[in-house]
Amino acid sequence: MLTANERHRYDRQIIINEIGEEGQEKLKQAKVFVAGAGGLGSPICLYLAAAGVGTIRLIDKDTVDLSNLNRQILHGTADIGHLKVDSAKDKLALLNDAVKIEAISVTISEDNINSLIKGCDLIVDAMDNLPTRYILNKAAIEKGIPFFHGAVRGLEGRAMTIIPGKTPCLKCMYHGDVPKEKFPVIGVTPAVIGSIQATEVIKYLVGMGDLLTGRLLIYDGMSMEFREFKVSKNPQCEHCGEKRKRS
């Protein structure tokens, strides 16, 4: 049940027909897992907190560095040297203190992922490397909870939503690893992609709209173009296909 204060705070989105008070209540009851408090994690958390998502479990092992600040807008100069999850928790509390932030500073691994996501309704990908994305993808499929993928480089980004058992997953489309690099990026790129991921999360939680499933959305800020590519389930996928079922 929404309070009078909540009705006031979220008035402009409650009057979206597809959300209403019922949708707002769903957001309030939700617990989302955000993997990463960096470039993507910043807009994702800010917009989910602003929208009134009840609980955000935020995971990041790093401390804030000066070189993060061109894009990781949850953090500022005064946060340098502090844990990103602590800095993020402080900023999100200033934005919306009704949102519960569970800040955990740990490296995500195959050993701890199941305990980390326990009780969460979905996983949001805000990582900066492919191996951890695969860990998240696999865990989401095994637990049967949605996975909201996003990635950036330079002025380019991509996003796709994965519903286990129904749609292709991240492993269905990726065939290899990407060499580790100090990837180029400017803050507006994760702002675009993170906002798309947050939009998808909100749509899923409320139960509205058409999700970005089976479609890889690619954004090119240099030419200011969005493109979509169809992605199909790979029957031989190690995470969601026959190979997994046999193992």
């Binding site: 960096g38 492919l130 996003g150 990635a151 380019e156 065939h175 031989q236």
Partner: protein
Amino acid sequence: MAIQINLHKTHRRYTGGKGSVDVEGKTVGECLKDLIRKYPPLGKEVFDKNGKLSGIVEVYLNGATAYPDELAKPVKDGDKIQLVYFLAGG
């Protein structure tokens, strides 16, 4: 009529800025080889040292992923191949 390969912008430095190249072949792999015959420096961008598709290149055929077995996918005149660069940053 040929098959059109649309290049990622990082690859266009090898084609004098051209964003698309017409090629010939019966499979995606043959088309990519024709592309590299025309622009040899692209070879190290598209294929790894073992001759396999580079891990940082994705191939889409007529707007859909060509994975898995991208290089063996048959093509016909008028088809469009898109080379996309992998992204992993966050």
